[in-house]
């Protein structure tokens, strides 16, 4: 049988999905189920006065109308771990208490016979709001005298985090030039096409709670729920049914999930809540939103010695689970692919009257990659060097791995120059550069940009995590000889029902059609750490592999016994067990499974059954890398950017299924294209979200996507036996800086030295026509390397 690993196998998930047979949370219907809807604050900051709910209660079909005072004594909101020294965390409740502090803050809940009635009832609730001063701008929030997001904290500052590595001061002392630039990493909204939603059902008879929820993390939710809802862990089942996109937006436990767990017990009926698009935009986590001042110490030849950064990170109004930690990932990965002498990083997390930020695809690393890759291009532009040469001069060499970066992170393996070389070849870089130069002579705005990225994923060793960084998996050879795999990862589109079956098919010598992969249900997969941070294959796949090896060992013992031979003499090949040299007389999985479960002829001391489970604890994260190249042209009259050529060379180690890898990278790049060109999150000064629907929050459409040239290099990871690295976020991390560098290169003949994303036509048009709109790059030459 030909090996399946490494081949572009079509997904086994797809037949149900392309025929409308899959069941997402809104497709589930339970007998007697009621429907919840939530009244949300129209104010960014207000004191809540009287709430009148009698008209809503009187509406036929309405079961209950509840406000914070009814609910909050019985159910608590999850709190973010206080990961920062001296962190100031606001208390957040399931429904608002005395104040609302962001637009969309949940104020009241209606439960009714159907969703339309529940929504009608929302209109009948009267809330007296007393508006309070609000702050939505990050820099304004950092000013003295700013309105406070939480007056009781006395400041908008949630924490300050410092990271010093190497000797930054020596780097600045030795520099020929110091460059200073301010960069903004705009806020983005994840916008999965399926909004959030959940059904909670309390079974009073056996006192168990089942929560079906559109989430990436059913296991983490089950672990967190007991303290918050007062139901013990072993009486809770959490199911992630088919999930319509996550991207980090569903890597959280949200107030609505907690609310429904409470309401189903209170009202004695299963209850469903489905988020609307506007709610999704306003009340599901956002990503990015940092402003940084960067100082870069450089030698004349382009060697970057040190970086000093002072970054403000907008945490939003309250803390979701990962909110404060995300900007620290930016700090940890700021050195990128390069050997700096020192870094001096300070991140200040601030509260504003906006939705909380948290882990959106890339989670801190896109900001890091954008910063360092812009810095490389700025260095090249200011010193009149070639951007490729500047990178080559500063790269960590392939021979230096494992490499401890100046931020103290140990990169597992890499060959950055190799990926860069391949991307340049695929792009015909020199030809594109000539084409750009010729176009410039005609007065056209054409630009060529690249990004060489490294990211950190497959989180992670447990010592890095607040609740275990392992993954669990089990494999069962059924009595029929067919195989059931259960993973603690929670794929929701990534395709591990296929790739894990490929791994098992090869290792067991069993056809793909005889293998099924189950996931996403804590009653089926008792342990799990779920899907986020590009971790499922590297960690979850390894747990499957380990389980298979245990089963094969057991099957060999059983086969040796049945064939009246010794374990040493046993061979296992192509799904058959035989005595060396006697392949004709082999036992199949079906025969062995039958013996294992009938258990009449087991060797002494061998338990019945043919199943095994394993936890894989990774020794390190993995560090995918690559080079992306963008070739763009800008319409001088409209400011519109079009990507004329896009080349992506990604190294995610060994590839289990190249078709799925390609899909992940292409999808990731599309998120970056959105962030770089079309997506813009706008809050008004008083905290109104003005981009709360697809009409004004422009995620890319098919016509925004260029035809890609895709290539790969393969540098296996030593962090797991399959040598795989994650690939779910790489495209999103690598692509935006390449586009940014190309756009700024295109505008450079006009004197543009930096511009912040998103490169919307209006912003680009202004940059073309109004020099005052262009962010500066300051340059401080130093004589003789002295200050």
């Amino acid at each position: 049988m030909k090996n399946l690993v490494g081949r572009p196998i079509k997904r086994v998930e797809d037949p149900r999905l392309i025929q409308g047979k899959a069941a997402y949370v809104d497709d589930l219907r339970l007998p007697g189920m009621l429907h919840a809807a939530i009244l949300r604050s129209p104010h960014a900051h207000a004191r809540i006065g009287a709430i009148r709910t009698d008209a809503a209660r009187a509406l036929p079909g309405v079961t209950a109308v509840l406000i914070g005072a009814d609910v909050n004594p019985h159910v608590s909101m999850v709190t973010s771990p206080d990961v920062m020294p001296g962190q100031k965390s606001p208390k957040h409740t399931v429904l608002a208490g005395e104040r609302v502090y962001y637009v969309g803050h949940a104020v009241a809940a209606v439960v009714a016979a159907d969703r339309s009635i529940a929504r009608d009832a929302l209109d009948l609730i009267e809330v007296n709001y007393e508006p309070l001063p609000a702050v939505s701008d990050l820099e304004a929030a950092a000013q003295k005298g700013s309105p406070l997001t939480h007056p009781e904290l006395g400041t908008n500052m949630a924490y300050t985090w410092d990271l010093k590595g190497g000797d930054a001061a020596a780097g600045f002392k030795a520099a020929d030039v110091v460059l200073k630039v301010r960069m903004r990493h705009p806020r983005v909204i994840p916008m999965p096409i399926e909004p959030r939603g959940c059904i909670a059902s309390w079974q009073a008879g056996d006192e168990t709670l089942t929560l079906w929820t559109s989430t990436q993390i059913p296991h983490l939710i089950r672990m967190l729920l007991p303290k918050l809802i007062g139901v013990p862990e072993h009486r809770i089942r959490v199911v992630a049914p088919e999930v319509g996109g996550g991207f980090g937006a569903k890597l959280n436990l949200y107030p609505e999930e907690l609310l429904l767990c409470h309401l189903t017990r209170r009202l004695g009926a299963p209850i469903k809540w489905i988020e609307s698009r506007r709610e999704n935009a306003a009340t599901t986590i956002h990503g990015r939103d940092q402003i940084g001042d960067y100082e870069v110490a450089v030698k004349k030849d382009g060697r970057v010695l040190a970086i000093r950064s002072r970054t403000l990170a907008d945490l939003g109004s309250y803390l979701q689970m990962g909110t404060p930690a995300i900007p620290t990932l930016t700090g940890l990965m700021l050195p990128g692919c390069y050997t700096l002498r020192g870094i001096d990083i300070q991140v200040t997390g601030l509260h504003t009257h906006k939705m909380a930020t948290d882990a959106y695809r890339g989670a801190g690393r896109p900001e890091a990659t954008y910063t360092i890759e812009r810095i490389m291009d700025i260095v090249a532009a200011e010193l009149r060097l070639d951007p490729v040469d500047v990178r080559l001069k500063n790269f960590i060499k392939a021979s230096e791995f494992p490499f401890e970066s100046v931020a103290g992170v140990t990169y597992d393996s890499g060959n950055y120059a190799g990926a860069l070389k391949k991307a340049r070849e695929l792009a015909s870089w020199d030809k594109l550069a000539r084409e750009r130069d010729a176009a410039r002579r005609e007065g056209r705005l054409v630009g060529l940009g690249l990004s060489t990225y490294v990211e950190i994923c497959s989180f992670g060793p447990s010592h890095m995590m607040s609740a275990g960084g392992w993954e669990w998996g089990s494999v069962r050879i059924e009595m029929s000889g067919q195989v059931t795999i259960i993973t603690g990862a929670t794929p929701h589109g990534q395709g591990q029902e296929t790739s894990f079956a490929q791994i098992a098919a090869d290792r067991l010598g069993i056809g793909l059609g005889d293998i099924v992969v189950l996931r996403g249900d804590t009653s089926v997969a008792p342990y799990g750490r779920d899907t986020y941070g590009s971790r499922a294959t590297a960690i979850g796949g390894t747990a499957i592999l380990m389980s298979i090896d245990k089963i094969v060992e057991k099957a060999k013992v059983l086969a040796a016994h049945l064939l009246k031979s010794s374990l040493k003499q046993m061979e296992f090949k192509g799904g058959r067990f035989y005595v060396r040299g006697k392949a004709a007389k082999a036992l199949t999985w079906k025969e062995l499974a039958s013996e294992a479960y009938n258990a009449r002829h087991l060797p002494k001391g061998v338990e019945p059954g043919l199943e095994a489970s394993s936890f894989f604890e990774p020794p390190n994260c993995t560090f995918p890398f690559g080079t992306h190249i963008a070739f763009v042209e800008i319409d001088r009259d409209t400011g519109e950017v079009s990507i004329r050529k896009y080349v992506a060379v990604d190294d995610c180690g060994n590839r289990i299924n190249p078709l799925l890898v390609e899909g992940q990278i292409q999808g990731g790049i599309a998120h970056s294209i959105g962030q770089a060109l079309t997506e813009r999150t706008v809050y008004s000064e008083d905290g109104q979200l003005l981009t709360g629907e697809f009409i004004d929050y422009a995620i890319p459409r098919a016509s925004d996507i260029p035809e890609y040239v895709m290539g790969s290099t393969v540098t296996p990871s030593p962090s797991n036996p399959m040598g795989v690295k994650g690939v779910g976020e790489a495209g999103t991390i690598g692509a935006a800086p390449a586009i940014a560098n190309a756009v700024i290169d295109a505008l450079s003949p006009l004197g543009v030295r930096h511009l912040d994303m998103p490169f919307t036509p209006e912003k680009v048009w202004r940059a073309i026509h109004d020099p005052a709109s262009r962010p500066p790059v300051l340059r401080e030459a130093k004589k003789g390397g002295k200050r």
């Binding site: 999905l17 025929q19 319509g244 390609e662 697809f694 995620i699 016509s703």
Partner: protein
């Protein structure tokens, strides 16, 4: 009010609220949950179905407006156990990940091929402009529709 719609070849008559949307009729009355809701404002296309042969966003069509009409949903596309070429193309080309936009995207693709049997890449992009996908980055979707137009097997 009484509404009668032929859904995937079967007639369904039901007394409904005048405000009931076609997508609610399909999902809640007919139990056909393959048609999804992503935005309720005609923008994402997850709810795309064919109404009298035209691709429509069923989240902004009233069931009453579809009275007397014929609707094809994702559940009605395969015939005699054989996938429609566009469904097959999506499977062959990895044209989907989470699958949530997929039913609407496939029906939009069916419409593209009905109007332009041999579409260019640009024509495909224009034809699915009303359908958003957040997972795939569209490239494999474009490949899938192109492959369906060629009747090519992998």
């Amino acid at each position: 009010m009484l509404v009668s719609i032929k859904v995937n070849g079967a007639s369904v008559s039901r007394d409904v609220e005048p405000r009931l949307l076609l997508v609610q009729f399909l999902r809640d009355v007919c139990g056909l949950t393959g048609t999804h809701v992503g935005c309720e404002t005609t923008l994402c296309g997850a709810c795309t179905v064919l109404l009298d042969g035209q691709a429509v966003k069923s989240c902004t069509v009233l069931a009453a407006q579809a009275d007397g009409g014929e609707v094809t949903t994702i559940e009605g596309l395969a015939k005699n156990g054989e996938l429609h070429p566009v469904q097959q193309g999506f499977w062959d080309c990895h044209g989907l990940q989470c699958g949530y936009c997929t039913p609407g995207m496939i029906l939009a693709g069916v419409q593209v091929l009905e109007r332009t049997p041999k579409p260019s890449r640009e024509e495909i992009c224009r034809g699915i402009e009303g359908n958003l996908c957040r997972c795939t980055g569209y490239s494999h979707i474009i490949d899938a529709i192109a492959r369906a137009s060629q009747g090519k097997k992998p």
